[in-house]
Amino acid sequence: MSGQIMCQECGQRPATFHMTHVINDQATEVHLCEQCAREHGEFDFLLEPKFSLHHLLAGLLEQHAGAWALKSPTQKACPGCGLTYADFARTGLLGCARCYETFAGALEPVVRRVHGHTRHVGKAPVGREVPVAARIQQLRRRLQQAVAEERYEEAARLRDEIRQLEASQGAAGGASREGGPRSR
């Protein structure tokens, strides 16, 4: 036989999918043919490109998956619904609210790419307070606008309100994770 690598799963067909798994600093090589790769589900994001918003998203996921795979121990499944990262990368859809924690590391760069932001500043369900950080960000936007429109009295009032909130936040031990407001 020539130097061609055969699929380690079936041993019948030449391997066309090659991947290196890094688990606890131990590198393991995986070589599969297309058919076995399909069955494995592991290379799903490389197969059958389809054109929809979800699949465009899946393209983004693929770019970020590599980096995340290095940090993340195994192919973990979401404890809430059993979704694996491969499932997510294939469809672009999450399985339950807990997926956002389970795949937080992989989602963060994707969310940043898609939205240009990572923090919610909109409304909250009745009975839940809008978090201080979000309120500060909302006020900062209004401040920028007030300054731009030369409404200085309002701007001064907003500035004081922001300072007050920031002080209360400092006292509570929470700090804004995002630098400052983005100009838009």
Binding site: L53, L94, A97, Y100, V114, G116, R119, H120, P125
Partner: protein, 352 residues
């Protein structure tokens, strides 16, 4: 309120043809994606659990009714005929995705202004549809509906990321605001490509009439916000309103310029459309949509002062395949449809 009654009614609230800038903005829509915190999202939901979601939404309706002072009814998709589903899609009350799902349901207010898709991509898609450019009003109503529901349903929400949605592209506010615009002036003067192509820089995207992946026919364009996270609902609403207002201005000046510079070509086009629409015996859905767009332009430019403007949105919906079949109460062959479509258009236009 029975589903049959509701489906045979041609004119939903959004088709009244009134509202600000209604000559160019056919409708304004606000949609909020919401999920229940303790249940798997619809794509991973068992049929039994999906039925549970429908039950919980049903139980939340009294709270919604009293907050919005409107009557609501829930209709499960299971048992609904293919035809009824198609009519709901054509009226823009449900999405093509929901129409295919037997585990889904739709909640409708009696005037069809508020609808809630249950078990679409997210557990709830709260939708408000209004005529003309009224995004702010639509947002206020959607906000009130969302508040009322959130008092009785525990929505998946995190302080950092906002409302948690099945697809991360809807994360945060879960809000999609959109306008349906009729832009024949920009298309005829070949400015549509340039102007609409610049929208992504302003945070907006263009889709066809029936949402993602559908084609823009009859010079109708659906424009909506691109991102859902990192801006407040009010900012998203204001931004899209301002884009829509600018496009209305551009469309108006394109129409004026066309009329000034090419009056006879334009009148000829409009009157030929009127001639065909009032005389054709067989007409396809695509041809009807194209000619109805010309007709509407002629109405707006006062070339056809005797034709009432709402004929356009009425006929755009009433001549869709599902609607014709619903009116006929049976499946129709393509030729039967073309015949009925042409007859319907002639009747409507000659009723004056």
């Amino acid at each position: 309120m029975s589903l049959d009654e509701l489906l045979k009614r041609e004119r939903s609230g959004w088709m009244k043809g009134d509202g600000p800038a209604a000559d160019i903005v056919l409708s304004s829509r606000v949609r909020l994606a919401r999920n229940l915190a303790d249940t798997a999202f619809p794509p991973r939901l068992s049929p039994a659990a999906a039925a549970g979601v429908v039950e919980r939404v049903q139980a939340a309706l009294p709270s919604l009714s009293s907050a919005l002072n409107r009557r609501f009814a829930l209709f499960p998709l299971k048992g609904m005929s293919r035809l009824d589903r198609q009519v709901l899609v054509e009226k823009h009350l449900i999405s093509p995705l929901l129409a295919k799902n037997d585990a889904a349901a739709v909640v409708l207010s009696e005037d069809e202004t508020v609808s809630i898709m249950v078990n679409e991509e997210d557990h709830l898609r709260i939708q408000v549809l209004m005529p003309g450019l009224q995004l702010e009003e639509a947002w206020r109503l959607a906000d009130a509906a969302d508040d009322a529901l959130s008092r009785v349903l525990n929505f998946a929400y995190s302080d950092d990321q906002g409302y948690l949605t099945t697809c991360p592209t809807n994360l945060g506010t879960g809000m999609r605001v959109s306008v349906m615009m009729h832009l024949p002036g920009l298309v005829l003067s070949q400015q549509a490509g340039r102007l609409l192509g610049a929208l992504p820089k302003l945070g907006a995207v263009v889709r066809g009439m029936y949402g993602e992946g559908s084609e823009a026919k009859g010079n109708l364009f659906q424009i909506s916000n691109q991102v859902t996270l990192g801006q407040t609902e009010r900012e998203l609403t204001d931004n899209l309103s301002s884009i829509a207002r600018q496009l209305v201005e551009q469309e108006r000046s394109a129409r004026e310029r066309l009329y000034r510079e090419m009056r006879w070509q334009l009148e000829d086009r409009v009157c030929r459309a009127y001639g065909i629409l009032t005389n054709a015996r067989l007409i396809s859905s695509d041809e009807a949509l194209r000619l109805l767009s010309d007709l509407r332009l002629g109405i707006d430019l006062n070339i056809l002062p005797h034709v009432p403007p709402q004929v356009f949105s009425d006929l755009v919906v009433a001549t869709r395949v599902g609607f014709l079949q619903k009116a006929a109460s049976r499946q129709l062959t393509p030729q039967e449809r073309d015949l009925r479509r042409a007859t319907l258009i002639r009747q409507r236009l000659q009723a004056r």
